[in-house]
């Protein structure tokens, strides 16, 4: 990450990522950011939990790379959230598997995500726990305080809440645009723009 500005709360990278100086990124060589992603203070990404056993991946990332956490564009990681790759026993030994986020993924304050994949246009509220190997598809809204059990699959256009989480509603047709995070991206950083009214 090349530093453009020396001062300010955020480090802004060439690809437009805004990473708070107080963000906790561990094992940065295993973390992939797609660009234009905001990582707020005290947000933690556990890149150090990279895959240890060699899984013959048919559905996989580029060979040779060992990405632990892959994040798309226009994602927003709020204060104090944590992205942690899920792990399990594979062929007798324990290994972590990568955690992938799509584009326009919002993760609320104090939320822990251990999913296998989170699709694009997903809003995860505050104080949510996304269990290991959960799969969240596109256009999903997870309400505050939900606990998504391990291995749960959440189909597109679901509104999810509860402990354990269940589908409580459908994202209405007119609600798709609300997942866009471009404006929110502009509203933080070292020279933030006001959110449109």
């Amino acid at each position: 990450m090349s530093r453009k500005q020396v001062k300010g709360e955020y480090i802004e990278t060439d690809t437009g990522n805004k990473v708070a100086r107080k963000a906790i990124l561990i094992g940065t060589q295993h973390i992939m950011l797609g660009g234009k992603t905001v990582i707020q203070a005290e947000a933690m990404i556990r890149g150090d939990l990279a895959r240890t056993a060699q899984v013959p991946s048919s559905s996989g990332a580029a060979p040779g790379s060992n990405t632990a956490v892959a994040i798309g564009r226009y994602c927003f990681l709020s204060k104090g959230c944590c992205l942690r790759p899920p792990g399990r026993i594979y062929k007798g030994s324990f290994t972590y598997l990568p955690l992938r986020l799509g584009d326009h993924v919002f993760i609320g304050e104090g939320t822990v995500v251990q999913a296998a994949t989170v699709g694009s246009h997903v809003h995860i509220g505050q104080k949510v726990v996304v269990g290991e190997f959960a799969i969240i598809k596109d256009y999903v809204r997870v309400l505050d305080g939900s606990v998504i059990p391990a291995n749960m699959v959440i189909p597109s256009f679901s509104i999810v809440a509860g402990q354990p989480a269940r589908i409580v509603g459908e994202v209405p047709e007119g609600g798709h645009e609300a997942f866009e995070l471009r404006e929110l991206y502009k509203s933080v950083g070292n020279n933030p723009q006001p959110l449109p009214v």
């Binding site: 048919s58 749960m152 047709e173 007119g174 723009q193």
Partner: protein, 569 residues
């Protein structure tokens, strides 16, 4: 008290069946007819009737903007209540496999792949080997590889509450085809082939042949169709059952007595009888609860099910936790929506489960402005009675045309507690939304925009920060902010002095505060006028000349704006 988020709900025109039914052949049942108490005089002039957001009926037609659809042909708002839905795709929410509607009829509305929910907590169940450490084999990518690892009995287990199927004595021989294995274990469906499943099925599970609703229903149906065949041998109903339309018409002809030639056909001798054995689907109610009582005594409340658990079971009647079975996932659907009036499709998703695009998605928020509410000053948690407060309402125009907005509110809010409402600027123009490349233009002009906004602000306010009647508060490239002043009502109820009450006037309602009666809600009538492209049917491909044609357009609707809660002091 929880914090209050201001809201705007918009009323769909389907609340008023008097106007929709007269203009169309809408097949809405009579339950929607106006209640006898509602005034009928408003038929000729519907702008005249005041809208009460608190009326019990209003609940059914008020929606947040994003829930509303838009019919291009009728040029009107449509809501989830009035649109006609059609199934596009049926799929399992867990494995995301599509289910053909034909197999829905035979297999039922639940996933028959190995998708189960925990009967205790409804979390997803995963197949696990009893022998080795937990292995979530549901990960599709690795499914093929897991076979190399452990053998032995398999169970379904819940990672959320740690329930597993061995608690009800259910183990599987192989990790595939769990649904069929479970079906066999539970109902012993094909009894001739001795199920090769692990031997420890408790006797209570296997002796209940035909105990399932489905099995009993089919037994009963075959019994009664046989009975019918005996009763009416000539009609040949036995061949068809009741499901074929031919049989139905034959039944109709029997009952309408058109076949006059065959009089006295039903002789007394061929009386039908009722089902009376288990093979005919008959089941006597077991009135002996002593075993249940003794079990309850032995195991206590912890062994019983709670209402939600019993309700989410496929078979009804579970009373103890050991009678709870894994729940196959209920299938979900993708649906298209039609306008109830003109029958045009206004929303249609792509049929593939994984495809989130829409072939058609006409939503109301591309036509009608969004309204956001902000208090003028950072507000106290609750509104103080009788103290005027000002709110900023921001209208954002989604259209590419300039829109003239006219607002109207009743002077006081309806209901027992009448708060006073004043819209300081009830009429204004909104500039058009920018062209489709909005974001790019936005970015480039950001700084310019700011200047313009600043200038306009000063221009309209003349340097002061005082809200003025008849003037816009602030304006941006496609939005306008206006000020609304409210004087919250006092929530204390005092009977007016008896002397002041006129004879025959109804007794004032002094009952205690009802739920949400302390919420200050403003009914607001919004009228939009603009000049837009001539609307044409979805099919017509207009020539260039027609494209340029403009016409005056107008839309009016009620909405309700929730401002805040009034303090109860």
């Amino acid at each position: 008290m929880a914090s209050f988020t201001p809201y705007t709900y918009i009323q769909c025109p389907c609340h008023d069946t008097t106007t929709t039914t007269t203009t169309t052949s809408q097949s809405r049942p009579a339950e929607d007819a106006p209640s006898p108490t509602s005034p009928h005089s408003s038929d000729d002039d519907d702008d005249d009737h005041n809208f009460d957001p608190r009326a019990p009926r209003s609940n059914y037609s008020l929606y947040p903007l994003e829930y509303l659809l838009w019919c291009d042909v009728c040029h009107q708002i449509r809501c989830p209540r009035c649109v006609a839905e059609e199934l596009v795709t049926i799929y399992c929410p867990n494995c995301l496999f599509e289910v053909a509607s034909s197999s829905l009829k035979t297999e039922g509305n639940r996933c028959t792949r190995s998708c189960f929910q925990c009967p205790i907590c409804i979390g997803p169940l995963a197949v696990q080997s009893l022998e080795s450490a937990p292995e979530p084999s549901l990960l599709s990518a690795d499914n093929a590889n897991t076979a190399t690892t452990p053998a032995g009995p398999w169970i379904l287990s819940c990672s959320y509450c740690n329930w597993n199927s061995s608690e009800i004595g259910v183990k599987f021989d192989k990790p595939q085809g769990i649904f069929a294995q479970l079906q066999k274990l539970r109902h012993g469906e094909d009894s001739h082939s001795k199920h090769a499943v692990g031997g420890d099925t408790s006797p209570t599970k296997t002796d209940s042949v035909a105990a399932t609703m489905k099995a009993r229903f089919s037994a009963m149906r075959s019994f009664y169709s046989a009975q019918n065949a005996i009763a009416n041998p000539s009609s040949g109903l036995g061949d068809y059952g009741f499901s074929s339309p031919g049989a139905l018409s034959r039944i109709m002809s029997i009952y309408s007595g058109n076949n006059a030639g065959s009089h006295k056909q039903k002789s007394k001798g061929t009386m039908t009888r009722e089902a009376d054995s288990a093979s005919e689907g008959f089941r006597a109610l077991d009135l002996d609860d002593s075993s249940a009582v003794s079990q309850l005594r032995r195991d206590g409340w912890d062994s019983t099910v709670i209402g939600d658990q019993a309700k989410s079971q496929v078979e009804e009647g579970a009373r103890f936790a050991e009678e709870l079975w894994p729940i196959p996932y209920l299938l979900r659907t993708k649906r298209s929506k039609r306008c109830p009036v003109c029958r045009h499709i206004i929303s249609k998703p792509e049929s593939k489960v994984a495809n989130t695009r829409f072939r058609m998605r006409l939503v109301a928020n591309t036509t009608i402005p969004s309204i956001s509410i902000k208090p003028f000053n950072p507000p106290p948690a609750l509104l103080k009675p009788l103290q005027p407060v000002q709110y900023l309402l921001t209208f954002r125009n989604p259209l590419f045309d300039e829109v003239k907005v006219t607002l109207a509110t009743p002077a006081t809010t309806p209901g027992r507690f009448a708060s006073r409402v004043t819209v300081l600027c009830p009429q204004f123009q909104m500039d058009p939304s920018t062209e489709s490349g909005m974001y790019l233009v936005d970015d480039a002009l950001k700084d310019d925009n700011k200047d313009i906004q600043g200038r306009r602000r000063r221009g309209t306010e003349g340097g002061t920060h005082q809200a003025e009647a008849g003037k816009i508060w602030e304006r941006g490239h496609n939005w306008v902010t206006i000020v609304v002043e409210v004087v919250p009502a006092s929530l204390s109820l005092e009977a007016p002095p008896a002397l002041l009450r006129k004879e025959g006037e109804p007794e004032p309602d002094l009952s205690p505060l009802k739920e949400d009666e302390d919420v200050l809600e403003i009914p607001m009538f919004v009228r939009l006028e603009w000049e837009g492209d001539v609307s044409h049917d979805q099919m017509s491909t207009s020539t260039g000349k027609e494209k340029d044609a403009r016409e005056k357009k107008e839309l009016a609707y009620w909405c309700t704006i929730g401002i805040g809660r009034i303090s109860q002091e």
